[in-house]
Subunit: 188 residues, 2 copies
């Protein structure tokens, strides 16, 4: 969820200082090696993962093909939505594409904190709403833009990062064949 953590920070800073302290106590920083998985298909997504540094992706496998559904950069929040909200096994993978520094927030610990500080539920809502609006936009993009328009948009939004991601992963994120993406790039 792009740039979400900034919005979260804003809300958190509006909360009582003691709630902020309690929340901060739950946050755990972690280092992940390139290629490693933050989440595997079939397991429950027990943490909300804020990307501090590096690049990650979320994908799922369908008909033996990987479909990259999200790319995560600095300040994005990586989470398998259904699995996290309902604490059920999911079908998504989350993978580090580079060395990664992330901050974890455990579902149950956060849940518990919400029972003593109900105003934290607002955070859940903001996260869900933000992701939902992003999804709506992405769906419209898939329906109205052709392959090269989608690529150019991605480039425009993340000019710096895109260099560092393998072509097959960008292609899978854009929903095109690698060969097609390669041709798109060669025509400017």
């Amino acid at each position: 969820m792009t740039l979400l953590s900034q919005k979260i920070v804003d809300i958190v800073q509006g909360l009582d200082i003691d709630i902020q302290r309690s929340l901060e106590k739950l946050l755990v920083k972690k280092q992940v090696k390139k290629g490693e998985y933050l989440l595997r298909e079939g397991s429950i997504c027990r943490h909300c993962m804020i990307i501090e540094e590096g690049i990650a992706r979320k994908f799922l496998i369908m008909n033996n093909k990987e479909i990259t559904t999200e790319l995560y950069f600095k300040d994005d929040v990586a989470v398998s939505f259904d699995s996290f909200c309902n604490q059920i096994p999911g079908n998504e993978w989350i993978q580090a594409l580079t060395e990664l520094t992330i901050t974890l927030l455990n579902f149950h610990e956060f849940q518990e904190l919400k029972t003593t500080h109900p105003e934290l539920i607002k955070l859940d809502l903001v996260i869900a709403e933000h992701y939902t609006i992003w999804l709506e936009k992405r769906l419209i993009d898939f329906r109205t833009l052709d392959a090269s328009e989608r690529y150019l948009n991605l480039l425009k939004q993340n000019p710096h990062y895109i260099q560092h991601i393998q072509l097959n992963i960008i292609a899978s994120y854009l929903g095109v064949a690698v060969e097609t993406l390669s041709r798109i790039r060669s025509n400017i």
Copy 2:
């Protein structure tokens, strides 16, 4: 949001009886004629609209073409998400495809009720989560299914209703040309 109101009902019934009463007082039943708009582009979506009877759709206009983003049947909740959550003007239309009976819940009235009964925020969250998961699924369908698979899925999920919707609207919902949908239907 498909079949959402049932889930809402479950949660509402878990609330204190006096909160239930207050909530019910906010609900307004309304009749809408076929073809009329429940929401127009540029205006703020001030109500959550539960479909009691009939069929409706949400769409937006892009490059002079209508893109139908959602079809609503009995018990679905019709709302322009971003516009409703943030009470800002939106780019979506919501239109009655048949005579319609709907129940309205006003954003501000509900908001106010939440200040006295914070546990109602849970409802917002459930609505957002439900819609989000539906969107994720729809995006995957667009990326992995071809036109006729999408049509067959829609038929399977709503065998009864689909008869009553014009082909151009179904086509626009499925993201195919009318001619293509017509051909799909003729090949079984």
